[in-house]
Every structure is written in structure tokens, then in C-alpha cells.
Amino acid sequence: MGEYGVAPGQRVAIVWDSSSPVEALKGLVDKVQALVGADNRVSVENVNQLPQSAHKESSFDVILSGMVPGSTAQHSVELLAEVARILKPGGRVLLKEPVVTESGNNGKIKTAAKLLTTLTLSGLVEVKELQKEALTPEEAQSVGEHLGYQGNDLLIIQIEGRKPNFEVGSSSQLKLSFAKTPGPSGKPSVDPAAAKLWTLSANDMNDEEMDLLDSDELLDSEDLKKPDPSSLRAPSCKEMGKKKACKNCTCGLAEELEQEKKKSSQPKSACGNCYLGDAFRCASCPYLGMPAFKPGEKILLQENQLHDA
């Protein structure tokens, strides 16, 4: 890996602020571009513009901030949170910031410790102090100009941090079972203490005083969802059910159905005559709804049955 831990092909963002001398910024950009190769992989952002730019999350491998020689950029929690957002999981941020050695009256400049916690609070992990160096006279002057601090207990600290290796919103299951050495059946054997407690409790089934868990707490948002109505329909749903013709159909329904169906995948429903009962009658049988009757028995349809149901 090259300087700044940047490798070819990576996407890098360089964050600068008004305290960075323009030539120095350009110099850094060129250097980094040389490291990653061409193809516009280097983005340059002003620290105030970064939130507005709204880069796509997890788009950068490395972010360099305040790294321009002479920069006195300060990093707030909000800025660092944005940095964490646009970093890829496992991506790295490298930054420099002036710090005071003791927390003094000037609250604007952080101590090293405070800066480290600021990174952690923004969601970065493996926050490490890489080095501290004293300020050059130009840098000291720059601090005086931009931050209005005159004391001579300043240091420039270089810190790196990483975005954790998982994405926001990802989940993983906690293994809650406490694996014991398996018994002969290949399963963990029951802890005798647990077995005893269980048995004792079970022998006390009528004890109304026992403390109970709230079973509702077991349910999560998935459980509370209702099934999708489209999933409740039968695959081959027809409004009135399949129409079947009798075995020796005389009303013409059989011919109609023959023309409709192409393949003979219709279930072999052996259909007898109307006297056999609803189980065997076809859909247009006038005796539907009446019980089976003996063959030869004359059944008169009652007046009310001749009307539509």
C-alpha cells in the first residue's frame, strides 16, 4: 500500500477547508491521484459542502481529511458521521487536527482524547492515534488566524478510524443456545439442574402464583403482519367451481365442455345419473340440493325449487 494507505483502484475523498493553502491541496490531490490511478476516483470536497453533496452511502474506500499540509480543519461529530456514512464497510478515514494538550479555556480546540471519542461517537471503530507532531511556525500562525488560539501547547495529531465491517440495517442471529457436549444420540444432553427445575415446576401445575412472562413480547413486527390477500386465493380459482357433465349427458353440457378443454387432464369424475345424489350430479342438474332418491322414483320439483336460488 502506498502513502496514506491508499491502493490503486480505490475510491478516495479528500476533504479540505479554507485553512488549507490551495497549492498544498492541489499537491495532495495529485499525489493521491497518482496512487489510485486515473479514472476520476478522487473526489475533492470542502468540509462545509460535504453534507450537501450527499454522496451515496458506502462509496469510498478511503477518506482523507485535514491532511493538506497547513490545514487547521476541525472535525465535528456531524462531519464525522457523514464521513462514516459514505465510507464503505471496512473503509478507512485518515485525518489530522490540531489539539491542545490540556483542556483549557478555549473550548474550540479539542484535546486528543476528546477527538478520539468524537470519532467513536460518530460510528467509527478501531480509532487509533497514529502520531503527534509539533506545529511548524506556519501552522502555528495559521491556527492563530483561523482558530484564534495563541497558546503554544498545540500539537497536530494524526488519527485513523475504520467503518465497521457490516452495513447499516444488517442483522445477524445471536447464537443463544449453550452447546454442551453431545450425548450418545448426537444431541446435547440435558443439564441435570435444568431437568430438575423443569420437573419440579411441572409437578406444580396448579400453582397459580407463578410469575409468567408476557407472551406478547415474543412477537416482532413480522409476526404482527397479516397475510397478503392475493396469497389466499386458490391457484385455479373459478367463481362457481368446475362445471361437470353427467356420464350420459343429454343437455349438451358435455359437448360444450369438450370444446373448452384442450388436454384431458380433467379428473376422472365418474358421474352417474341425477338420482345418485349431489356428489355425482353435474353443475346444471335441476335436482341439485335434493337428497339422493331411488331410481324410478318420481320426484316432483317443488315450486320454490324451480326458481333461482
Binding site: 443463544l176 443456545s177 449453550f178 454442551k180 444420540s185 444431541k187 446435547p188 444432553s189 440435558v190 443439564d191 439442574a193 435444568a194 431437568a195 427445575l197 423443569w198 420437573t199 415446576s201 411441572a202 409437578n203 401445575m205 407463578m210 410469575d211 409468567l212 412472562l213 407472551s215 406478547d216 415474543l218 412477537l219 409476526d223 397479516k226 397475510p227 396469497s231 389466499l232 386465493r233 386458490a234 385455479s236 380459482c237 367451481g241 368446475k242 379428473p267 376422472k268 369424475s269 365418474a270 352417474g272 345418485l276 345424489g277 349431489d278 356428489a279 355425482f280 341439485l288 340440493g289 335434493m290 337428497p291 339422493a292 317443488q302 325449487q305 336460488a309
Partner: protein
């Protein structure tokens, strides 16, 4: 664990989960697995930690509640003191039966699955959620789930070498053999519903045979609906109840149906028999005296008026010697035939007896041994108790609307229990009804000053009648009732009772007679009209609101 075994545990309210559990049990037998099928509250829960393979079939009822026969198990399962790794030996699968039109769809199965996981169990499959709202009902989920389940189970416990899965064409042995006693054995006491000696509160296995004191129609004769106020004598039963509680009544089949059934199946009603389990360890069926007459079995036990299920057709097909009938029966038991079955049975609410009528060449060939495998037990029906012990000690009253409606079948559909109750005439002798009490979901406030707003159209008013009687006896005056029905002159039951209380200032009554005028007026209109009063009761009185019907 030596040998291959499966335990199927079910929680069933209307019998569907039990039927499905038994179906799984049969599948296990066909795969040469030892199998026990039990209700959750009947199994020895202490032993659950040693069970290697359990399938749970649980319905959700009420408002996301477990069925009655798993309530004890449910309370046990959620005890905080159960150790986390207790069920580490357990491979399990949960099948839920529910209805997605309810907000707490299949909550019991969902919670059970998660709790078992929490306790260290290992799920073989994700929880399966059968849904009544699916066009093909729960089977749409159960059928593919069963395929996956057997795959998983046979992977864990492969078939012993040399054995194949028993083909569906081969009939499994019945649960019991029915051994007829010789015709000349001594006759039993014919009155099998003797009042039992008082014991601990009556329950499903030991109902109380309550005498019917009165059975009065409370709707006008010209009204289309027949609603009865029935009073029972519960003296000496040990039964107590308060307003909001529910009575469970065990109905029986009407004599005409019993006679028709015996004729169809070539059974002699007066013959007595005993039952013997084919597999040792199977319990005898509850509530069936031994020895028993065929008449008793068909009248009190076999639910011949229920809508037959798929398993009924599957078993019936195996007896058929008639090709035409057998093919049809097999079609109804196949996965592809489910739409046909729904159209034939479920939509028109065809009864088992009516279905048997369509298959005369098969019904005459059904061995008596298989009767209890073929037809399920009659289930009890629940009614809100409509009276208070404080107003009528040693009495229990209920309001029953006789269920009667038409489908495309020419014979109208009748509710089994309501029709039977309506037919009881106390003036013709000692008429008894087996019943027991269950705690209800409604609790009325303990604080005497809290007013109560009750909204109960139609027979929904029953628990409120109990509550009002109770509260009036206790001197509580804050009673506000919104009652709705169709016609003031036809189905305004309890009219005189209410009017008397109103005169005494003990009841505020609002009525909505939906068909007495051109536009429909319902209880909700009355509530809105009297919004101010309702609001005052709620905001300054802290009123409790109840809704039933």
C-alpha cells in the same frame, strides 16, 4: 432414544386442530413411527424435556387465546423460572390454525414457536400458519407443510431397512374394536343421564344433568326467529357463576337422524357393546359409558350433523366396494379434489348424515369398529348465562336463538344444540341437559360506584341481563343498556323486565328497532344520539363499556 417415535400434541377448540393432529398421527403410522396423539393438557408436561421429536398443532381462538385443552400448558410454558436450555433435546415443528381476518392471527402458534426456541428447542421447520381465510382453508398450508415435515423426519429417522411407507391404499387399524355383547345380557339402567352426586364443580368430563324448568319462546310467533328463554334447576350441583360467565351445553342428535343413521349403516340400535383399544395405552373415549348401546353412541357421541372433513372421505373410501362411489370418495380426499369438496360440503353446510346418504353402497360396508375413527365426538356449545344467582338462586337461565338458515340444499340447515334445546318440553317429564360452567371474558367492576354501559343487540343482551340482575341485587344503579332488535312488537324480549327497572330508576334504556321505520336504526345510532350522556358517564364516571352480540 431407542426406536423411532413421534409425539403429536394439539390444542383444539372446534376439533379442526385435533383432526389435523390425528391425520399427522396416521401419517406417522404409515411411516412405521411409533406415535402418540394427545391434547396438550392431557400430556405429562414434566416429560417434555426428554422427548426428542414433537409436533405441535395449535389453534388460536377468541382474542388470540389458546384453546381450552391447552390453557394449563400455556400457563406453564411462560413461567419465568423455566431454564433456558431445558428443551435442548427437542426437535419440534409447530402448525398453527387460525383466521387472518382476526388481528391476532395465529398468535398462539407464533408465540409457541418462539418460546420453544427460547427454551432451547430446535425447530425442524418455520412455523406454519393455516388460515381459514384462504379459499381452500387451512389445508392450503397444511398439505405442503406435511410433505416438508415428513421429509425432515425421515431424514432424522430413516425407515428401517426392508420397510416401505405403508401405501394410502392400505387401511390402518381402527383405534378401538367394538365388541358386541350377547343379545341376552342384562339391560343397563336406561336412564343414563342420572343426576350425579355433588362433587367438585362440574366440568367437561363430569357434566351436571340439569333439569329443564321452563322453555319459553320470547319472540312473537309471527317473527321469523325463534328465541327461547330456558331455565335450568342447578340445585345441588355445586355450580356457581357470576355475570359474564358462560355455560357449556352438551347437545345430542334428534331421534329421526339417529334412526336414519342406524338404517344406513345397518346398525341395530338396541345392541350393547364394549370398546377395546387396539393399541395398549390408548385411553377410552370420554363420556361414553361401558357397556353402551348403539342408540346411545349415535345419539350422544357421534357428531353426525357436523360438516364432514377430508379425513372422513379418506377413510370412507377405503371401505367402498362400489367403483363409482370409491372414485368419488377418493377424489374428495385428494389434494386436487379439495375445491370440489368445499363446494360439495363446506359451502352448502352438508351434514355427515347427508353425505352418507349419497353413498349407499359404501355405508352398508362400514365396519362398526371404525365408527369412532370416522365420525368425531359432538362438541359442547357455549352460551352466555342470562341470569344472576343473586336474583334467581339455584337457577340458571339462558337465551337461545334457534339457528336455522338456508343454503342451496333443499332441507334448511339447523343448529344442533339450539334445535335440540328448543324441542325440550319440561311438561312432558324429567328433561335433563348436561352442562357445566366456564369463566367468561367479561368482568364487571368491583367498585359499586362505577357505572356500566352495555351494548347488546339481539341475544347479545344475555350476559347483560345477568349483569343487570346482579347489580340491581347489589344496589348498583349506574346501569345503561343499549338494546337493538328488529321490531318492537316481535323480538323485544325482556321488555317488561326492562320497563320495570326503568320505572324504578335502576336502568337507563335505549332501544333501536331496526325495521320499525323505513330507515334502519341500530344501536350505534342511539349511542351517537346520546353522546353527551355517554361521554359524561365515561369521563366523570369512569364507566366501563361492554359489547356483545
Amino acid at each position: 432414544m431407542a426406536g423411532r417415535g413421534l409425539l403429536v400434541l394439539f390444542g383444539s377448540q372446534t376439533g379442526t386442530a385435533q383432526d389435523t393432529a390425528e391425520r399427522i398421527g396416521r401419517g406417522a403410522k404409515r411411516r412405521h413411527l411409533r406415535c402418540r396423539v394427545e391434547a396438550l393438557d392431557s400430556c405429562d408436561v414434566a416429560n417434555l424435556i426428554h422427548e426428542p421429536l414433537v409436533v405441535f398443532v395449535c389453534a388460536t381462538t377468541g382474542q388470540g387465546d389458546p384453546p381450552d385443552n391447552m390453557k394449563m400448558f400455556w400457563r406453564f410454558l411462560f413461567r419465568k423460572n423455566l431454564p433456558a436450555g431445558s428443551l435442548c433435546q427437542l426437535d419440534y415443528a409447530v402448525l398453527g390454525l387460525g383466521d387472518s381476518s382476526y388481528p391476532k392471527f395465529n398468535f398462539v402458534a407464533k408465540k409457541l414457536h418462539k418460546r420453544l426456541l427460547q427454551l432451547g428447542g430446535n425447530p425442524l421447520l418455520p412455523v406454519a400458519l393455516g388460515d381459514d381465510q384462504h379459499e381452500l382453508g387451512p389445508d392450503a398450508v397444511v398439505d405442503p407443510w406435511l410433505v416438508a415435515l415428513w421429509d425432515k423426519i425421515l431424514a432424522l429417522y430413516p425407515l428401517p431397512p426392508g420397510l416401505e411407507i405403508i401405501s394410502p391404499d392400505v387401511r390402518l387399524p381402527p383405534k378401538y374394536t367394538l365388541r358386541y355383547l350377547p343379545e341376552d345380557s342384562p339391560q343397563p339402567n336406561s336412564d343414563l343421564l342420572q343426576p350425579t352426586a355433588p362433587r367438585a364443580a362440574p366440568c367437561e368430563l363430569h357434566p351436571f344433568a340439569a333439569r329443564v324448568l321452563s322453555n319459553r319462546r320470547v319472540t312473537a310467533q309471527s317473527h321469523f326467529q325463534d328465541v327461547r328463554l330456558i331455565e335450568f334447576d342447578i340445585a345441588g350441583s355445586g355450580i356457581t357463576f357470576s355475570a359474564g360467565d358462560v355455560v357449556m351445553i352438551q347437545p345430542q342428535n334428534c331421534p329421526e337422524d339417529v334412526q336414519q343413521f342406524c338404517q344406513l349403516l345397518r346398525l341395530e340400535p338396541h345392541r350393547r357393546f364394549v370398546l377395546e383399544p387396539t393399541e395398549p395405552g390408548t385411553a377410552l373415549p370420554p363420556l361414553l359409558p361401558q357397556p353402551c348401546t348403539v342408540q346411545y353412541l349415535v345419539t350422544h357421541y357421534l357428531d353426525i350433523s357436523c360438516v364432514p372433513r377430508r379425513s372422513f372421505f379418506e377413510l370412507l373410501a377405503s371401505f367402498s366396494t362400489n367403483e363409482l362411489e370409491r372414485e368419488k370418495l377418493q377424489e374428495f380426499s385428494s389434494a386436487q379434489g379439495q375445491e370440489e369438496l368445499y363446494s360439495y360440503c363446506n359451502r352448502p353446510r352438508r351434514t355427515t348424515l347427508e353425505a352418507l346418504w349419497d353413498f349407499p353402497h359404501t355405508t352398508c360396508a362400514v365396519p362398526a369398529d371404525y365408527l369412532l375413527d370416522l365420525i368425531p365426538r359432538i362438541r359442547p356449545r357455549a352460551f352466555s348465562i342470562a341470569s344472576s344467582l343473586l336474583a334467581h338462586p339455584e337457577r340458571m337461565q339462558i337465551l337461545v336463538a334457534v339457528v336455522r338458515y338456508r343454503t342451496r340444499l333443499s332441507k334448511p340447515r339447523r343448529g344442533l344444540c339450539s334445535t335440540w334445546l328448543a324441542s325440550l318440553n319440561p311438561e312432558q317429564g324429567d328433561v335433563r341437559v348436561p352442562l357445566w360452567v366456564k369463566k367468561g371474558g367479561m368482568k364487571f367492576p368491583a367498585d359499586p360506584a362505577t357505572p356500566v354501559i352495555m351494548i347488546g343487540p339481539g341475544t347479545g343482551v344475555a350476559p347483560f341481563r345477568a349483569a343487570i340482575q346482579e347489580r340491581v341485587a347489589l344496589g348498583r344503579r349506574g346501569n345503561c343498556l343499549f338494546f337493538g332488535c328488529r321490531y318492537k312488537s316481535k323480538d323485544f324480549y325482556c321488555q317488561t323486565e326492562w320497563e320495570e327497572l326503568v320505572t324504578k330508576g335502576l336502568l337507563t334504556l335505549f332501544t333501536a328497532f331496526s325495521r320499525d321505520q323505513e330507515e334502519k336504526v341500530y344501536v350505534q345510532h342511539r349511542i351517537r344520539e346520546n353522546g353527551r350522556l355517554v361521554w359524561e358517564l365515561l369521563s366523570s364516571g369512569n364507566a366501563h363499556v361492554y359489547l356483545a352480540g
